[in-house]
Structures are given as C-alpha cells and as structure tokens.
C-alpha cells in the first residue's frame, strides 16, 4: 500500500520568531521594489541583497558553523526560503550556491575547497552557476561532450555549456563533463569546481524570449584547471549529480514562481470578487497550501537523511502545474492585454508571468523526464 509517504512536517521551535524576523527584514529591504520586479521571483539578481541576507545568517543556514553556517534545521531554512519567494525578493545571486553547490561541496568537497568557499557563499559574496546542459545534451545528461583531459598539473577543458543561468555574474561554475570514454555513458563523467576568471573560458549571454539575458553559452577552449578543481571522485559525476536532485526539486521555488501575480490578482479583484473569482482564488490557494505541506514534508525527510527522490519529483511536477496555471486563470478573471514594462502593474506582472511560465516545466528536468522518474519510483517496470 502507498508507495510514498509525506509525514507531517514538524514545526521547528522558534519558527514564528524567525518568520517574523524575516518578514521585518523584507518589509524594509523590498519597500521600493515594485511587483513588476518582484514577479521575477528567484530569477531576480541583486548581489547587494544577497550580501545582506548573508549578513543575517540566512545563506547556508543548515551548514556547520566551522564553514560559516548556522547549524539550523532544514525547516528553519525552509521558512526563510518561502518568505523570500513569497515576497518576490531578488535571490538569484546566491540561490544556486545555497541550494546546490554548497551542499555538494559539503558532501564531496575537499577540506580545502570547503574552507575556501563555504564561508564566502554563506556571506552572500560568492555566486555559483551550474554547467550541466550542452547544445546536444539537454534532458539527456549522459550525452555531455565537454571533456576534461588530465595534464601534468591539472586538467584541460574543451567544450560548450549552454543555458548556464547567470554564468556571466557568477564566480564559480560546477562543471559536469566527461573525463572517461564515451561508451561509458554514466561512468565516464566527473564534476569540477571552475573559477570563471580562468583563461580559455568565454561567456556569451543569450537573450530569452522576453529579451532578458539570464542564460549563457560558456565556451571552454583549452581552459586549464588546477588539479584541485576536481570535485568529488573522478568518474563519479553522474552519481553525484543525481544526488543533488532532491534538493533541487522539492523547494518552495517549485510552486511560488508566480505567487506575486496571485497577490496582484487579489489586489485587482478588490474586496468583492465574483463567485467565479472566489472559486479560482480558493482553488489556487488550496493547491498552494497543499503543496506547501508536501514540500515542507520533503524538507523534513531530507533533514532526517531519508531519500525522498520520488516525493521531490512529485512536488516539482505538481508545483509547475500550478505556477503555470496562475497566469492562465488570472486572465480569465481580469481582462488585460499583458505588456512588459507597463505602468499598470497587473498588466506588467501578467506579461512577465506569461512569457516565463513555459520555463517552469523545463528547468530542473523537463516535465516528461520528471514523470518518467516518478513512474519508475512507482514501480512501473
């Protein structure tokens, strides 16, 4: 019976105080930030803001104190994350480092790597990007062709990474590439910690359909990496990457990407919405409340050291559906012709949401890949 459990999340002690503290901080920091900026959610990049967060101790919160962390629980970290997202804070600068690269370093890094980088990440001063996709390897990670070859004093990298979010504003990339034979689809890959100021690395921003430039193409031409750049075990790249996924999939960023639009929708509807609007608001709220419950449950499982890969995939899949539905339902209730940069906030927020919604079921594993993972998790043979 029942292939997956979602045990009720346990509220950490002091949760209410922490939440109040974060809200107070955000009320002050985001005071002048309009909804048309806040709708960017975790795509909004602001290095100053990230540094301030670091100063408050809200980056790398769960990490050991010796590496700059605060040794707080996953559910306390969850509170900070969801408050940031719900408020539309610009968290992109440190997001990847806090969510993925830091935990990866903690788990796989050498002592030197950890001492060197984790405190700077936690301070909100060191930003990371993920060099995973390639022109011919999107969902099919095992098809990467970028290759690192051993040299006398380290590695030489050649190849092209694509869709690398904020590479042009990051200090480091976690590079996933081939170090072994092409026949060994999974075994022949490794991860590297790449200082993006090294020679032989060219970063070219790519505009997306709304004209913003978050994506990059990163070209490696005989880029020399020191021996110390290897992250984890040579040949173990595939397994290391798979281990990151539960962190990446179950967070509140998987269902709050358009939350700011929902807030603006409520504003636009006013105090006496139609029955139709009430039903839509109620329905969306029920989805978000339940997702939040499930997502916090996964955070609790991760905290306990469980492997909730299936649950995380389910949260991401459900979350993308609701994130994408919000702009579609909003337009049924408030007639607007969306326009980027409009003075009419609803029009502007809706425009951003419409143009960006398609990405929600692509990033972090396409919907189809994710559902395949779920199906295997269900025991479909």
């Amino acid at each position: 019976m029942s292939h997956f459990a979602f045990p009720p999340p346990i509220l950490p002690p002091g949760a209410d105080d922490l939440r109040a503290e974060v809200r107070e901080f955000l009320a002050e920091e985001l005071a002048g930030r309009p909804a048309s900026q806040r709708i960017k959610s975790w795509s909004g990049f602001d290095a100053d803001f990230s540094r301030k967060l670091g100063q408050r101790g809200w980056i790398g919160m769960t990490w050991p104190k010796e590496y700059g962390g605060r040794e707080r629980s996953a559910l306390e970290r969850y509170i900070v994350l969801e408050e940031l997202l719900a408020a539309g804070a610009p968290v992109a600068a440190h997001w990847i480092a806090d969510r993925q690269s830091g935990p990866l370093l903690l788990k796989e890094g050498t002592e030197e790597q950890k001492r060197h980088l984790l405190p700077r990440i936690a301070a909100g001063e060191c930003f990371f990007c993920i060099g995973m996709s390639e022109p011919d390897s999107g969902s099919d990670l095992a098809a990467v062709r970028t290759r690192a070859v051993r040299t006398q004093d380290g590695w030489r990298v050649n190849g092209t990474k694509l869709w690398t979010t904020y590479a042009h504003k990051s200090h480091y990339m976690i590079l996933y590439c081939r170090t072994g034979g092409v026949d060994d689809r999974h075994g022949g890959t490794s991860q590297f910690l790449v200082d993006l100021t090294l020679p032989g690395i060219t970063i070219r921003p790519i505009a997306d359909l709304s004209g913003e430039r978050h994506f990059n193409e990163v070209v490696f031409e005989d880029a020399p990496l020191p021996a110390s750049a290897l992250l984890g075990t040579e040949g173990d790249g595939w397994n290391q990457v798979m281990g990151e996924l539960a962190y990446e999939r179950s967070g509140p960023e998987r269902f709050l990407s358009t939350f700011v639009l929902l807030v603006e929708l409520i504003r636009a509807l006013g105090t006496d919405p139609s029955d139709q609007a009430l039903a839509v608001l109620g329905r969306l709220s029920s989805h978000l409340a339940v997702l939040r419950r499930l997502s916090r449950s996964v955070a609790g499982l991760l905290q306990e050291g469980a492997n909730p890969a299936l649950q995380a995939a389910l949260v991401k899949d459900l979350g993308a559906i609701v994130e994408q539905e919000i702009p579609e339902l909003a337009r049924q209730l408030v007639a607007t012709e969306p326009m980027l940069g409009s003075d009419d906030i609803f029009q502007a927020v809706q425009g951003y949401a419409i143009l960006n919604a398609p990405a929600f079921s692509l990033r972090g594993g396409t919907r189809e890949i994710l559902r395949g993972i779920i199906a295997r998790g269900l025991g479909l043979r």
Binding site: F6, V263, A279, S286, A289, V290, R292, A375, L380
Partner: protein, 358 residues
C-alpha cells in the same frame, strides 16, 4: 504515533481487508446491510476512536483516527465508520450518552438547517436535511442546530424518524431526513464554545477528505499493478511512456490528497482548542482532494481500459466512492468559494500570512 495506536492501526487494516470481500461489497450494493461486518468493527471499539478516554472512548489522536478512516476507505468497507466516530465525538462533546450501534450526523449538506426550540422541559426539533449518510441504517442520528445563541447537539433515535432512502453512486445509503419531533430535555445539550453551526459539515468534510485520500492511494496501487500485469503489443502497458506519464500525473494527484487529508484531519484536533474552530484547513483539504478525485478516477479507468469498466472488476468500488465522496459534505466548488472569501478578505498583503498559518 504511540505503540497502541500502531497496533490498532495494523489490526484494523487486517480486519477491514478481511471484511470487505467482493462478495460482501456486491451484497451491500444490492442494499444488504452488513451487520456482521459492523459487529466486528464495533467489537474493536473503532466507533469510539475519537471519544476521549474519560468519556468512555478510545481517545485516539485525530491523525490516528483519520488513519483508520483512510484504511477503511482503501477497502470500500460498506459501514458508517467515519459517521459513527463523528457522531460519538459530538455526543461526547455535548456530554450526551454515546451511540450503541451505527450512528450518523446531520446536516450533511451546505444550506440544510434544523431549528431547535425549547418546549416546556424538552425541545422541539424541526427541519430537514438531504443526503444524510447511512441515516436509514443508523441507530442514532446526531443533529446539530442553533438555539438561544448556542450550538447544540440533539440525539435522535432513528426509530423516531423515517428517512427517505437514497443512494450515492457507490450505492451507499444517503437519505432524506424530515424531522418534526418533541425531544426530552436530556436529549439536547450545547457543544463547546467556539463551535459554529457549520461544525457537522466541517467534521464530515474532514473525514471525507481522509477517505478520498485512502481510496485514491488504493486506486493508484491497483492501477500500477494492472499496468505491470496487462500486456498489449507484446509488453506490459506500464512500459509505454504514455501510460507512465499518466500514472505519474495520477500519483501527483494522489500525493495532493495525502497533503489535503493531513490538513483536514488537523481540524479534529484544532477545534478542541479554545477559540473559534476554523474550518479553513478542512475547506482546503476537501477542495483539493475533491478536485483530485475526478482526475484520479479518470486516469485509473483510462489505464484499466474496458476491464475496469465492468462490474466484475473491483476498481469501480473505489472509483464510484471517489465520484461520490467528492460531492458529499460540500463539494470542491463549495469549499473553494469559502477559501476564496477568506483569501479575498485577507487581501493582497494578508494572503501569504494566512497561508502560512496552515
């Protein structure tokens, strides 16, 4: 969960599975009341799960009692376990004698109302309710009504009323109740402060949410098993990507019913606390699970194909309950509107603070 509750849970699960055989489910559909099954359930004390120990009950936590309801729902066991648990809890809350057999509660539909008026030393109870679950089977019916600024529970013996029989799609009794009765003074008592007239609806909705989650999980299990077993075009249909994608989608909806059930069951604890009983978590749970139920049933039938459409295959015992229960004690649209009103009242700045209370 305590060790005792674990034992209760495991024993009950075995009992439900033993009792809910296809043969008995078919009989229940034909209108036969399964007294032997009820006797076994009662012998285990399950109808008293939600009654505090000091009131003569088992005093399970809400989550554990909900677990029993979910467990019974996975087997489609055709007895009013949830209704009797709730009726007894209401009786205990009001300090009235507990029910001795199967019982139920009313009203069970938004908008249905009864009126209570004092008449001498006793009360006059008047009104009607549609679709009261198991009213024609229950020995006692607990009717909640307002009078004199209080919310009261009235204990009515079914022998004093004549329910008009009806059925849901799963052919469980859902009966019309017309009441015009004189009740003795000790058959009516106030419920604790903070409880509103919507209480029976919220209680019922909470347990229907839990039951939907139980049935949904079972339907997923059956469908995955069938997909692994059934071959077409030379391989198990579960190997086809289209089937896999559908089942993944279904699993997401089943996960949502789990989260919904957790939220809803919380109401059963929360309303015992001082202050007004807030039905918002129930509203969210029932709305979300009710919405999921239809999608889950649709995908289950799509994957099962023609065989799942036959009366001989057991799938329909569960899907018919999904289709029925989602509409009972307020359908998803009813609860969505209630949630929507709360969110609209909270306003743009209050939405997130309200969501984070849940």
């Amino acid at each position: 969960m305590s060790e005792t509750s674990e034992i209760v849970r495991d024993m009950s699960a075995r009992l439900f599975a033993d009792l809910a055989t296809p043969a008995r489910l078919y009989e229940a559909e034909a209108g036969v009341w399964d007294q032997p099954a009820w006797d076994r359930v009662q012998m285990m004390g399950l109808p008293l799960a939600l009654v505090p120990e000091e009131a003569g009950g088992v005093g399970l936590e809400a989550a554990d009692a909900a677990g029993l309801v979910a467990s019974a729902a996975t087997t489609a066991l055709p007895v009013p376990l949830a209704e009797t648990m709730l009726a007894n809890r209401l009786l205990a809350d009001a300090g009235l004698p507990l029910a001795e057999g199967p019982a139920t509660l009313a009203p069970a539909r938004p908008g249905d109302r009864f009126t209570l008026e004092r008449r001498g030393a006793g009360w006059h109870l008047h009104g009607g309710a549609e679709r009261v679950p198991w009213a024609s089977i229950a020995g006692d019916i607990v009717i909640v009504a307002e009078a004199e600024g209080q919310v009261l529970a009235a204990r009515v013996a079914r022998s004093d009323v004549t329910p008009l029989p009806g059925r849901n799609l799963a052919l469980e009794p859902r009966d019309r109740l017309e009441v015009d009765l004189e009740l003795p003074g000790d058959a009516v008592a106030p419920l604790p402060a903070g409880i509103t007239i919507c209480h029976p609806l919220a209680l019922g909705a909470a347990f229907r949410t839990v039951a939907l989650a139980g049935a949904a999980a079972r339907v997923l299990d059956m469908t995955v098993a069938y997909a692994n077993e059934r071959s077409q075009f030379g391989r198990p249909i579960g190997k086809f990507q289209a089937v896999q994608q559908s089942l993944a989608l279904m699993a997401g909806q089943v996960a949502a019913t789990k989260g919904a059930a957790d939220l809803a069951a919380g109401y059963l604890d929360a309303y015992s606390q001082p202050g007004e009983a807030d039905p918002l978590p129930v509203a969210i749970g029932k709305a979300r699970a009710g919405e999921a139920a239809g999608m889950i049933a649709a995908i289950a039938h799509q994957v099962h194909g023609a065989i799942g459409f036959t009366h001989e295959h057991a799938l329909h015992f569960l899907t018919k309950r999904l289709w029925s229960w989602r509409d009972e004690f307020g359908n998803d649209a009813h609860w969505q509107r209630l949630i929507g009103r709360r969110m609209a009242a909270a306003g743009p700045e209050g939405l997130w603070p309200l969501l984070t209370t849940l």
